[in-house]
């Protein structure tokens, strides 16, 4: 994008085109640069600072910039940190499995069994909760799932329960599902709808049973989209502190709750930064592993 530096005032046609090019260059930069500056200052810089902060130290309740391994050694040597880590990965994995399975029949119906118009309306409905206060929805679940809440009251009429659903893993998973199920159904529906129908019909015509068709033909064809859905589901569940706190009871806390508690109870930001960096590294591994798996199978 080199611009020839000709004197702007000579009235030759050459300089006119140079001037025009300069002007067009300005146009291009005015549109391109703002986002680069904005995201560098307020997105990339904070993330780098977060990594740096994990090496800072806190002295007399004040954070001082330094480069020490203290926070890392401290957090890594604590059992409660590893308990939280294991719990968070376990819960997020469980949520991903449950959500992917629960979403599949719904996505299958939307992709293959309804008219295009119905599908469009269903997607329309599914987009709404994604942009609608997650916090209030979780509070609502808290009341619905309580020991004397709506579900136990209804079960009571047919002589069942009451079941304890709050402060259990079940509660946490319900919360994660609230967050991720609509998105996963949408992503699954799109990847199923993009499958070449003729391949499915061919399998059917050659006598392949429905279940076998799904497992041997449909799922492999939709693999990339499904892996992306699963990765998103994992990331969202892994990073959420609301469900495990309000519905899961936070005993032991998950990593996001650990961050909240550490930040809100004092000045130990560097230790919270250690937790955050560990979370980010984990998510990068999961995301890249997922993407690699998605594309390797494609080529095979």
């Amino acid at each position: 994008m080199s611009v020839s530096k000709q004197p702007a005032k000579t009235p030759s046609s050459d300089s006119k085109s140079a001037r025009q090019r300069q002007k067009s260059d300005l146009f291009q930069q005015v549109l391109r640069l703002p986002i680069v500056i904005w995201q560098s200052l307020f997105f990339i810089a904070p993330l780098f600072f977060l990594v740096a902060m994990s090496f800072f130290i806190v002295r007399n309740y004040r954070m001082t910039e330094a480069f020490e391994m203290k926070n890392w050694l401290k957090m890594m040597s604590r059992d409660y940190f590893w308990d939280s880590y294991g719990l968070t990965i376990g819960l997020a994995t469980l949520a991903t499995l449950v959500v992917m399975i629960v979403a599949f029949p719904a996505a299958y119906t939307l992709a293959f069994r309804v008219s295009e118009n119905t599908r469009r309306w269903a997607i329309f409905l599914l987009i709404i909760p994604f942009f609608t206060s997650y916090l209030v929805r979780i509070f609502s679940w808290y009341v619905i799932l309580a020991e004397s809440g709506v579900i136990n009251a209804m079960l009571g009429y047919i002589g069942l329960g009451p079941y304890i659903m709050l402060n259990t893993k079940f509660g946490t998973i319900v919360g994660y599902m609230t967050l991720t199920l609509p998105l996963v159904i949408i992503l699954q529906t799109f990847s199923l709808a993009n499958i070449d129908r003729r391949l499915v019909e061919a399998a059917y015509n050659l006598g392949c049973r429905p279940w076998r068709t799904i497992i041997r033909v449909v799922l492999p064809l939709a693999k990339t989209g499904f892996i992306i859905a699963a990765v998103f589901c994992f990331i969202l569940s892994f990073g959420d502190f609301v469900s495990p706190y309000y519905l899961g009871g936070s005993k032991p806390p998950t990593l996001p709750i650990l961050i909240v508690d550490t930040v809100k109870s004092g000045q130990q930001w560097p230790r919270a930064a250690v937790v955050a960096v560990v979370m980010m590294v984990t998510l990068f591994i999961v995301a890249f592993g997922g993407i690699a798996a998605a594309y390797r199978r494609r080529n095979a």
Binding site: S24, F42, F43, A103, I127, F131, W141, L181, F232, A276
Partner: protein, 268 residues
């Protein structure tokens, strides 16, 4: 044939159940907001407006509503502007490092909010931007610009590329073509992106909670009430929040969908 019909109705029923699960918390929250019991269950108590009266008389809620409105309106404007410029750049130009450029704008939604919240809290404190209304605006714009970019980029990919060059040939300079051809073509996407980014900002609580200081937004107030104990006030505030964001999201989608239909009719 008969078993296929059974399967069909089973699948429809399943889909309906899933939708019930997804919308149950929203519907119950609205019902409970009119219910007199402090701890609502079935059968419902009597109809009441007292929770609405409580929040109506709470100056903190009014203050938070004002902050939330300022924040979401500013965020929607900034994010849509940034998103438009980026979408147009991606549509028009090829350059080295473009994948990096796109990653820069599209990555924020893949980072957990709690991590962004901590990172922004620390960084903003360092550069003297913590605890202000403007801090929330800046943070939310980073988070929502990708949505704006995606919506507008999708719209641009439906545009006939010769429209812009036609404008140039007729003597319009680039700015003029942008203003007279591109922006009008993108108008539904711009409106839609404005509504969606406003909705995301209006509901976001993790980042706002960490960096807002004393300038609480509505979700932060909700978070604080919920942390205390069971208080049906939350359902009343929540119903307002639902109404606001659902309205915004529905407008966003309807604007995009109706424009699509109109154009199909024209082309067909």
């Amino acid at each position: 044939m008969n078993s296929d019909r059974v399967l069909k109705w089973f699948l429809y029923g399943y889909l309906a159940l899933v939708l019930v699960f997804i919308f149950a918390p929203i519907i119950f929250s609205v019902i409970f907001s009119f219910n007199s019991d402090r701890f609502p269950t079935i059968p419902l108590g009597s109809f009441t407006l007292k929770w609405y009266k409580t929040i109506w008389q709470d100056p903190d809620v009014w203050e938070a509503a004002r902050t939330s409105l300022i924040v979401s309106f500013s965020v929607a404007s900034i994010a849509t502007l940034l998103g438009f410029a980026t979408a147009y750049t991606d549509y028009r130009y090829r350059f080295k490092l473009k994948p990096l450029y796109l990653a820069l704008i599209l990555l924020p939604p893949t980072i957990p909010l709690i991590i962004l919240a901590l990172a922004m809290l620390a960084w903003f404190a360092k550069i003297g931007l913590a605890g202000k209304v403007i801090s929330i605006i800046v943070a939310h714009s980073v988070l929502t610009a990708p949505f704006a970019m995606a919506i507008i980029r999708l719209r641009l990919s439906q545009m006939d590329a010769s429209l812009e060059s036609a404008a140039w040939n007729l003597g319009a300079d680039q700015w003029c073509a942008l203003r007279r051809v591109i922006v009008p073509f993108c108008r539904p996407a711009i409106i839609s992106s404005f509504c969606l980014t406003a909705a995301v900002s209006f509901d976001e609580f993790a980042i706002a909670w960490f960096i807002s200081g004393l300038n609480k937004t509505i979700p932060v107030i909700i978070l604080e009430i919920v942390t205390g104990n069971i208080d049906p006030q939350v359902n009343a505030i929540g119903s307002f929040v639902f109404l606001t964001s659902i309205t915004l999201v529905v407008i966003a989608q309807v604007v995009l969908m109706t424009r699509d239909k109109k154009e199909k009719v024209h082309h067909g």
